[in-house]
Amino acid sequence: MSSVNPQRYPKASAQALKDKPEVRNTVTNSTDLANKKRMAAYQQVESDTWKDWGRDVKSHALTHLDQYLEQAETQLLANGAKVHWAETAQDAQKLLENIVLDHDISSVVKAKSMLSEELGINEHLEKLEVLVRETDLGEYIIQILGDRPSHIVGPAMHLSLEDCQRLFHEKFGTPIDGSPEILAAAAREALREEFLAADMGISGGNFLVAETGTVALIENEGNIRLSTSLPRVHVALVGIEKIVPRLEDVSGFVQLTSRAATGQPIGNFFSLIQGPKRDDDIDGPEEVHVILVDNGRTRLLADDKAWESLRCVRCGACMNICPVYRQTGGHPYGWTYPGPIGAIIAPGMLGLEEAMPLPYASTLCGACVDECPVRIPITELLLYWREKAVEEGLTSAIESAGLKAYTKAAEQPGIFRAAGTMLRHIPLGAGGRALPILSGWVKERSAPKSSPKSFMQQWKDGIK
């Protein structure tokens, strides 16, 4: 990831709304559709029981994480795979670099992996002059554009059909009004050659099954199956929190996640990768490397409240339902993971100061809590990080002073009422620009009109 900059959220979100108003429409339509599908899919099942189960399996796995990681490693090694451990993004880049050099890799096909974004893998490979090709259609489009993903499931969700038609017309010479089928055919043809020629495939991992040493991957296109089957070397980047204890557990999680992400009973292709090809296999990679990545996850795990956010299965439901996210899409959040989940893991993984003001980029409406398939207490965690931000002095001093003064007044009803009376005599429209709180309000809204008489005054006068 080129630049991590959540601090830019206030300016970036305002700018996005001003400069690219069409993104708001595109994202709203896409997320509306995703929400309909997810809700319909969950209405077909006992959703409460599913989500309770998902929460408990993941919490169990996380509270036994070291044991399961060791088991996964043992199994992967028995399967013939190689296992590496990376503490930081730099470590992961270096490990990948060594594999690339050891195996004379000059071209890579990539399956979509948010972890690889987080770790800045593409930029690093390009520095090594390795040809890197994203194969997920959405990621491919993003890559050609030189853009960044805006959503963890649909990376090109902020782009409209017209945007794609323009892009493909320039790049492939497809007609400017080319149908999605025509554009997709162009992409398929271009990528087919790259699949066949690539030396290495890089993927992420949706789940890592400890019992069988399995990297499990969900997709709809087939590019993950192709990227992990055709090239002679496959590297899977897997966050340590992706652990799931048993094979039968993953049979549940693939369904839980697929319904939450896209409303499907299961993703169209579900890969369970144990290791390299065996003697009686016709094809498959000669080597499979699994890089287990920390990069701040143990820091989150150590937090007695925030560790629950590590249950995340990266379904994207929270950002699909989030009324704040849909106004701008993911880019203004300035990090790989936007929306509600981004706001609660960023403080743990990047550090709270770096992550500000993401925990405040929310009205605490709670819609996301209802949708999370593993019951992460998102609003509780947003409040938790806000309290920490105040404790660490990361919030506006003016605001703190203002609220302290407000609280003092609130403890003295006579003063509180006097202040209220004073307020009603300030023409809020004009004075609003002066008061720090109100200036924000009157930027976009008419100033509120005070009632001619306060309620307490009317009560005192007598109500008929």
Binding site: N220, N223, S229, S271, D281, I282
Partner: protein, 211 residues
């Protein structure tokens, strides 16, 4: 100190005072629909809903005859190693079942290990050949009716518990398993669904009712 020990240490420290959560166990209520009790029917319904096609035959011989007719419409065909045995029931000429590079054909024929009714999925294993399952734009897959499992859990456990011939080292699963639940699809271009990017855009399941 290696990265491995460093990470594991940090995990142990993080968990030192954390209350352990016990595994809730298997969840039986995964079945989303009231099952008709007929896995074949449910598989067919799910697979077709996802855009796939399903045909069914009483014997392997009939099924193979149909598939031969089907692939004859296409220019070139590749047949997976395990599927070759099935396709060869009783009928003679083998010249066109020779190994063809799956990247150059229009249709591929595979044999699935089994299928799953509740998700409408075919269980594909690598001995048959992964390229043949992924590269041709049209994919035809044999599956025995007796191997259509009601739930995904059952299907995966059956796969895990079957000892693979030639494996003397106790590894329970093949190198890679793919669950294919319909034709390849994407909605990344303007949220409109398109098929066949990048896996097969057309998948036909051929159910063999008895072996």
């Amino acid at each position: 100190m290696t990265a491995r020990s460093s990470i594991l240490d940090r995990i142990r420290i993080a968990l030192a005072n954390r209350e352990a959560v016990s595994h809730p166990g298997s969840f039986e209520g995964w079945r989303p629909f009231i099952h008709s009790g007929n896995p074949t029917e449910q598989f067919t319904e799910m697979f077709e809903k996802a855009g796939g096609e399903v045909v069914s035959f009483k014997t392997q011989a009939e099924a193979s005859l149909w598939v031969r007719g089907f692939v004859a419409e296409f220019d070139k065909v590749s047949v997976g190693k395990l599927a070759q045995g099935r396709l060869n029931e009783t009928v003679e000429p083998r010249e066109w079942i020779e190994a063809t590079d799956p990247s150059e054909v229009e249709v591929g024929v595979s044999l699935a290990y089994g299928a799953v009714a509740e998700t409408g999925s075919l269980i594909m294993t690598p001995q048959d050949g992964r390229r043949a399952q992924l590269l041709p734009p049209v994919h035809v897959v044999f599956v025995d009716q007796a191997k259509i499992y009601e739930t995904l859990c059952e299907g995966l456990l059956a796969l895990k518990n079957e000892i693979y011939p030639g494996d003397g080292e106790g590894r329970s699963l093949p190198s890679a398993v793919g669950l294919h639940s319909g034709p390849s699809k994407s909605a990344d271009i303007g949220q409109v669904l398109v098929k066949g990017v990048h896996g097969p855009g057309r998948v036909v399941t051929v159910i063999v009712e008895s072996k």
